[in-house]
């Protein structure tokens, strides 16, 4: 059950979640720069960017796009809140999904061809990774007999071995979730490509800042998901492992070219079936 400790964590997430997420984004940019033999921006550059965005005029195609972005941020925060409260992982995932749909809705609402393609691709990616993300709580349920995060954290240390297939599948879809190459179909981080800026093409000023803050929260949430696999080992082990795996995604980002949506969808579903479902099927034998 929820204790004052878990409430502290959950409220802590509300305040420090975006800070941690921004730091992760900053480290990501530094690492990327180093891999490309550049110096890279200061660690807090993402924060400076967002502060600057708030200073700027906000141009909108329709005023409702801001409302949809509020929905995106609201459900993102709820998802993380549930997670850090130690509550239901499956419910947290559902909230995360709804949040993603609201972001697509904001882009659809602006209705420029670039936003349209961006959001359609984003939805396609969601369709690709959703089954694998669902496998994660299912796997935890089978080993910890509960969807509750607090029960999963209190699980057996070897659960990560039992769920190794699920972990591989999760790392695969994490690349999509973090919008990393080869799966950055819906948003191009690199300018002057065919998508312009994909899903954020028509978002500017404080609207764009909201999207960035939402992504900071998302970074923290995804890191926490990764942490869950190793959580029973204790924070001393689990956190460094989770961080290393998280930043391994940066390496993949910089070493892979973008895939088409068909190969992404087929590839992700194959990985989900091959690693996720098989792992679940074999669990009774491993346990």
């Amino acid at each position: 059950m929820t204790t004052s400790y878990s409430w502290t964590l959950a409220v802590g997430f509300l305040v420090f979640g975006p800070v941690l997420g921004a730091l992760l984004a900053g480290i990501d940019r530094r690492l990327t720069a180093r891999m490309q033999s550049r110096r890279g921006p200061p660690l807090l550059q993402p924060v400076y960017d967002v502060l600057k965005l708030f200073e700027k005029d906000t141009l909108v195609v329709t005023r409702l796009q801001t409302l949809y972005l509020w929905g995106f941020l609201f459900f993102m925060v709820i998802s993380g809140f549930i997670l850090f409260l130690g509550s239901d992982l499956l419910l947290s995932l559902f909230a995360l999904t709804v949040s993603g749909i609201f972001l697509c809705l904001a882009a659809y609402a602006t209705n420029s061809p670039y936003s349209n393609i961006g959001s359609s691709r984003e939805l396609m990616l969601m369709m690709a990774y959703e089954p694998m993300l669902i496998m994660v709580p299912l796997g935890f349920f089978l080993v910890a007999d509960s969807f509750r995060v607090s029960d999963i954290v209190a699980g057996e240390p070897w659960q990560v071995l039992q769920l190794s297939g699920i972990l591989i599948g999760f790392l695969f879809v994490l690349t999509i979730k973090l919008r990393k190459s080869p799966f950055d179909l819906s948003s191009s981080h690199h300018g002057h490509q065919e998508l312009v800026k994909g899903i954020t093409t028509d978002l500017s000023g404080s609207d764009l800042a909201l999207v960035e803050i939402g992504h900071w929260y998302e970074n923290t949430i995804l890191l926490a998901w990764l942490y869950l696999f190793f959580a029973p080992l204790g924070v001393v082990w689990a956190l460094p492992i989770a961080l290393v795996l998280f930043f391994a995604e940066v390496l993949i980002d910089n070493t892979h070219a973008r895939l088409t949506w068909t190969s992404t969808l087929k590839g992700t579903w194959s990985v989900t079936a091959l690693f996720g479902v098989t792992n679940l099927m074999l669990l009774p034998l491993i346990a």
């Binding site: 906000t58 909108v60 801001t66 409302l67 509020w70 709804v98 749909i101 609402a109 061809p113 959703e130």
Partner: protein
């Protein structure tokens, strides 16, 4: 009992009165009043039998004999009418009259058997049948009201279609009477009669327009439903002449458990699969979309197809923990997966709704096949949410079609700005269908939990859970895509056309409110309708008591999400953020807002972009064919499994 008799008898009389009404105005008035009356009586019933456990009704012996004769003659009458309708069959459809004869023969063999079982308690009521009656009475009544104006426009648009509206409305009301019959009858041969009446209504209403396509689709629906009818009649014959169980009472059959009742339960299960348009029988529901939209809303999404899953849920205690039950769940799962994928292909809004209806019924059947307290809970709530949200969506699409002249999803672009009220009904319908924290989520949650605790075969629950996970993903895609179209800012201002007609507005508004209330107050619906029913079953030891309720903490979270969904627009309206409106980015100089831009060589270029339908990735025909083969084999296995 008087209330039940009223619910079954009154629509019949109302139907006759409507048929004989002297003027269209008088007829419209009668339809309106009767629909309100039926809705009121079903509400009254829910109040009188508030949270009632099962209650059975004995009727006077003489009356029972009269009814017996009446229903038998009625059954023969239905068969004869269908045989008469068969004068218009073509080509391979000769199998239909054969099926009618076989079915009539089977049921007569049973009813005329020398020592057929006696039925002491022909009618019953429990909280689940009250919920069904509320759906039939309230949602059905509202759909009839919507149909008044819809059919007027329909006839005005399609001049070549003969105006048979008096008979049309009579059929709708006869159908309602038969639905009430199905949910309250404990006497299997009588229940079968009502079952056949719904098949007849469906056939007649699909063929309403009299075009070649409508007639062919009507016959296909008839043929496939007759297969189910024969299975049902076969079950009754088995219970009359077969070894073992000798009863015609539904509750005794269910209480007999899987050791005794599995064979008739599986046969009736097949009838349920055909009525709920599950694979391999699913094709008729797509064809049924040629019928006028209120018919699709009433018969083919919110009520008649629910009769199929209603029976399956009733028989869940028999399926529980059997191979046949697991295979039944697998058929539902396969249907869910394939139709969800195929729905991504569809541009025609009614076809999207049809495929998603089949998919949702598949999900309910997955729950029924497993048959634990939790899955029954999920199944019944799904029935409720789906009935209200889908009726709303069908009617919304019907009204939209008459106002914008198309049911193509691409043409609904910008409906939020062009017709805000209409768009709101569609949005709420879509949200009610799939989005957290609304209905679907709860049921999926309960399903995952129940599947993982399943233990019939090794890996069975995981298979079902994986099917659910893979099937949910395309659902998310096609609903969100549609939402996106509705929410898109129109590139050009569109002229405001006709207002929404009054009757249609009443129905849409009422259904929107019902959907909202059902979603927001689902714990109440659970307490009033589901718990007394599952509580009785677990009390009798028919299904194992489930300790895995959704914890209060989750419900609190869902309430918070729902609250946020209400509050955000309110805050947005009170404190609108500062922003400057511009036209969308077109990577060139915009000429006419977001609609066109100056391209290369200074030429003005029109902007066009369409949604993704993945036609190359998901091939409808291949998918459906594979689904037919898969589900057909599962069905065979299920029959073999049951008879072992």
């Amino acid at each position: 009992m008087p209330l039940i008799a009223l619910l079954m008898g009154f629509p019949l009389l109302a139907g006759l009165a409507i048929l004989l009404a002297s003027t269209p105005e008088r007829r419209a008035d009668l339809v309106r009043r009767s629909a309100y009356a039926i809705g009121a009586v079903s509400l009254l019933l829910a109040v009188v039998y508030f949270r009632a456990g099962p209650q059975f009704f004995v009727i006077w012996d003489g009356l029972a004999q009269v009814l017996d004769l009446l229903f038998m003659l009625g059954g023969i009458g239905v068969s004869l009418y269908l045989l008469y309708a068969c004068r218009r069959i073509k080509g391979l459809e000769w199998y239909i009259p054969v099926l009618i004869l076989v079915q009539m023969g089977l049921i007569l063999v049973a009813e005329l058997a020398a020592d057929h079982p006696e039925v002491a308690r022909p009618f019953y009521i429990d909280s689940f049948s009250i919920l069904m009656a509320l759906i039939v009475g309230l949602v059905g009544g509202l759909i009839c009201i919507h149909a008044i104006r819809y059919m007027q426009d329909y006839q005005a648009h399609a001049e070549e279609v003969a105006d048979r509206r008096p008979a049309f409305f009579m059929m709708l009301f006869i159908f309602l009477a038969a639905m009430f019959g199905i949910v309250f009858t404990n006497h299997l041969p009588w229940l079968f009669f009502f079952w056949e009446v719904t098949t007849l209504c469906s056939f007649w209403l699909i063929s309403y327009s009299g075009t070649e396509e409508a007639i062919r689709n009507g016959f296909r629906a008839l043929g496939l439903n007759l297969i189910g009818g024969i299975a049902f009649a076969g079950a009754i014959v088995w219970l009359t002449l077969g070894p073992g169980l000798h009863t015609w009472e539904l509750d005794q059959l269910v209480a007999a458990g899987s050791a005794l009742a599995l064979i008739p339960a599986v046969l009736i299960g097949i009838a349920g699969l055909t009525k709920s348009a599950q694979m391999p029988f699913s094709s008729w529901l797509l064809g049924a979309m040629v019928a006028p939209t209120p018919v699709s809303a009433l018969l083919h999404s919110s009520t008649m197809v629910k009769a199929g899953v209603f029976m399956l849920v009733k028989f869940a205690p028999v399926y529980h923990d059997t191979l046949a039950g697991f295979l039944l769940a697998l058929i539902g799962g396969l249907t869910f997966l394939i139709t969800s994928l195929v729905a991504v292909n569809q541009r025609n809004a009614k076809r999207v709704l049809a495929y998603s209806t089949i998919a949702n019924l598949g999900l309910i059947i997955m729950c029924a096949g497993i048959g634990t307290a939790t899955t029954l809970w999920a199944a019944i709530l799904l029935i409720l949410f789906h009935a209200v949200a889908k009726a709303l969506l069908f009617l919304g699409v019907g009204t939209t079609e008459h106002l914008i002249g198309s049911r193509d999803i691409e043409d609904m672009e910008g409906l939020v700005y062009r017709r805000p009220v209409l768009a709101a009904t569609l949005l709420i319908g879509i949200l009610g269908m799939f989005l957290a924290p609304f209905g679907m989520l709860l049921s999926k949650y309960a399903c995952f939990q129940a599947f993982l605790s399943l233990d019939v075969l090794p890996g069975d629950g995981i298979l079902l859970a994986a099917i659910l996970a893979f099937g949910s993903a395309p659902t998310l895609f096609f609903w969100s895509k549609w939402l996106g179209k509705l929410a898109a800012m129109p590139r050009r201002a569109q002229p405001i056309e006709l207002p929404i007609p009054r009757d249609e507005a009443i129905a849409l508004f009422a259904l929107t409110v019902v959907t909202y209330v059902a979603c927001a107050l689902f714990p109440l619906a659970d307490w009033v309708f589901v718990q007394p029913y599952t509580g009785f079953l677990t009390g009798e030891g028919l299904i194992p008591a489930g300790d895995e309720r959704i914890p209060w903490e989750n419900i609190a979270m869902m309430t918070a999400m729902l609250g946020g969904l209400f509050l955000l627009p309110l805050v947005f309206w009170l404190l609108p953020p500062q922003a400057t409106a511009v036209s969308g980015y077109l990577s060139g100089a915009n000429v006419d807002g977001s609609a066109s831009y100056q391209g290369a060589m200074g030429a003005e270029r029109e902007v066009a972009s369409r949604g993704y339908y993945l036609a190359g990735f998901i091939r409808e025909e291949t998918m459906i064919r594979n689904g037919l083969i898969g589900s057909g084999s599962l069905l065979l296995l299920m029959l073999i499994g049951a008879s072992l």
